[in-house]
């Protein structure tokens, strides 16, 4: 890992995500249940899915990076630093002054604008283009929501399914873990974990995952308890199927809809948690939470500075609303009791 620059990893992740997405699409096409569910989902929440897609595309464009091509004398950029597609679209947008959206005069005593009228959403107190920062925030938000879910859900499944299926000592142990975690105030635990691991995207994700897996663990444990007693699991045992194989073939596939629903619903909650962490000063650099935090005091200026907090808030709101709308529909579509309700 040490031999590669971070931007190479960023590119690899992009490729992996695109390939993974295509593979998932292939799988969904092949499985009638999932194909019908996704068609139904598209029918119900076209707008929300498109919005989420736009955020995804922005985040991916912000992940593809390569070196070079930066004109001499560009402000704030090392001559040969790797820049992402989004960076390149907004080269040379750092201003020496604080300005309102599309303003051609400077505010608050800065120097004259080099590119007056081009900052669609204005600049912040440090002279950075607000639109640029809002776009950069998409990648951070998706990273926090996605990576944390990818850490938390497997942990929850491991403990939840194990406890539900095998019971006994392992169940006791898992419940000890759950009640211990539940007895600590979540935000304090988050702060403590981030202090121990140091600030950074990965440690924030790990900290959010460690505090966030409990709910789904309970859910998957309860569901496994139910599945374990079902006739087809008993029948599988009577046919001589081994325990790990029963879990893999009979328990996990029947938890799949819960996993998908939890992933989508967890996602938006996590993005919001990061905003809270940013407010406490332990968030991830470049997130919308940090933009909001930085713009808090600006609201008291005269004339009022609304554009940077507005942009970050709108971006955050748009993503959360779209994801929640999709999540709601995912639950309706995948829950067999509500599937036919709309027809």
């Amino acid at each position: 890992m040490s031999g590669l620059d971070p931007y190479v990893w960023s590119n690899l992740v992009t490729v992996a995500l695109v390939v993974g997405g295509l593979a998932l699409a292939r799988f969904v096409r092949g499985q009638r249940l999932w194909r019908e569910a996704s068609v139904e989902l598209w029918r119900r929440r076209r707008v929300a899915i498109v919005v989420v897609g736009v955020y995804l595309v922005i985040a991916l464009l912000d992940s593809i990076a390569w070196k070079g091509g930066v004109p001499e004398g560009t402000v704030g950029v090392l001559p040969n630093a790797p820049l992402t597609v989004v960076d390149r679209l907004f080269l040379d947008t750092k201003e020496a002054s604080y300005s309102a959206p599309l303003a051609d005069v400077e505010f608050y005593g800065g120097r004259p604008l080099r590119r007056p009228g081009t900052h669609l959403l204005g600049t912040d107190i440090l002279g950075r283009d607000v639109l640029y920062m809002s776009l950069k925030g998409a990648r951070v938000a998706l990273l926090i929501g996605g990576l944390t879910s990818l850490i938390a859900i497997p942990i929850a499944l491991f403990f939840g399914v194990g406890a539900g299926y095998f019971g006994g000592r392992f169940d006791d142990f898992v419940f000890f873990l759950i009640s211990t975690l539940a007895s600590m105030p979540g935000i304090l635990l988050l702060i403590a974990l981030i202090m121990v691991m140091g600030r950074g995207t990965l440690s924030v994700c790990v900290a959010l995952a460690v505090t966030g897996w409990v709910g789904f663990c309970r859910l998957s444990r309860a569901e496994t308890l139910k599945l374990r007693e079902l006739d087809y699991v008993v029948a599988a045992r009577a046919l001589g199927v081994s325990e790990p194989r029963i879990i893999w073939r009979h328990v996990l596939p029947n938890l799949a809809h819960l996993i998908v629903i939890t992933f989508v619903l967890m996602f938006s909650g996590l993005v919001l948690s990061e905003a809270v962490l940013s407010w406490l000063g332990i968030g991830v650099d470049g997130s919308w939470g940090q933009m909001i935090d930085g713009a808090r005091d600006e609201l008291s200026r005269e004339p009022i500075v609304w554009w940077n907090i507005g942009a970050a808030g709108t971006a955050l709101f748009g993503l959360i609303l779209a994801v929640n709308a999709v999540g709601d529909a995912v639950r309706d579509v995948l829950d067999p009791r509500t599937l036919r309700a709309g027809e």
Binding site: R32, L33, G167, E229, L230, D231, Y232, V234, A235, A236, R237, A238, L239, G240, V241, S242, R249, H250, P253, N254, A256
Partner: protein, 329 residues
Amino acid sequence: MSALLEVRDLRTVFPGEGGPTPVVDGVSFDLDRGEVLALVGESGSGKSMTAFSILRLVPKPGRVVAGSVRLGGEDLLGLSVTAMRRVRGRRISMIFQEPMTCLNPVVRVGEQVVEAIRLHEDVSRADARDRTRALFAEVGIPDPEARLDAYPHQLSGGLKQRVMIAMALSTRPEMLIADEPTTALDVTVQAQILTLLRELQQSRGTAILLITHDLGIVNELADRVAVMYAGRLVEIAPRVPLLTEPLHPYTQGLLRSMPARGRPGEPLPEIPGVVPRASEWPRGCRFSTRCPVRFEPCAETYPAESHPAAGRRVFCHDVERRLPSEGAR
């Protein structure tokens, strides 16, 4: 030739408030190759638990505490977990009461049978699929090729039970445990499934342990019948003598209460009382609380086995009392 399955003094207990409660208590019987033995009894008489004890699948916290189960001379209760898993499905298969819930709803039915075959035999997926198609045809599923790719919810109850039977027979087991295989089905479908089971049993020579509370099914299918009451075996006999001249008062009561035997317009004679709870079982014969012919020793000592005729065993003080005189005559 010794029997295929020999069950001796099987005892399965569940922990209860007043100490362990035996749900299967000293049950012994044999099952010959190619034979159909019906295990008959009310709900809670321990017939299903007997089957689960044979497969060592008694749900926790219950466990088998005594006795032996020999399959072709090999004691199943002493086998390792892995060896036992190879017996299940491979040598003893089981079909269940509820075909609706016995198939995994998210896997195609053909795939489930293919997996069952490949679990026990080293065959390619394509070969297993060919065999599944043949099996589907054998168990009377119309258009087997199309049904291979169906999901369970797309099949009717009868078809699902046929799939279960195909799955259970896919590895040519020596013995099949059928736990109330037709209870959840329509009457017309019941008849079809029973016919199918009889045909398969005759063509393949599979021994069947048939668990049921329906004496009509017993009459259709069984060679011999074992009657259970409150965890104990009370009578075991070939089908015809058991159904025509039952010896144990409980068996007599069961047969009398069949609607087919009653006359129209007259109330059906029932067995008075209910099955006592395990904590209230008498020390002696379990049926003594409801028995019309009980006398002194019944409540105190459990009756010994008596052999009133060849192949018949019955546990009853009353039968015991009458036997010597019959023998002297």
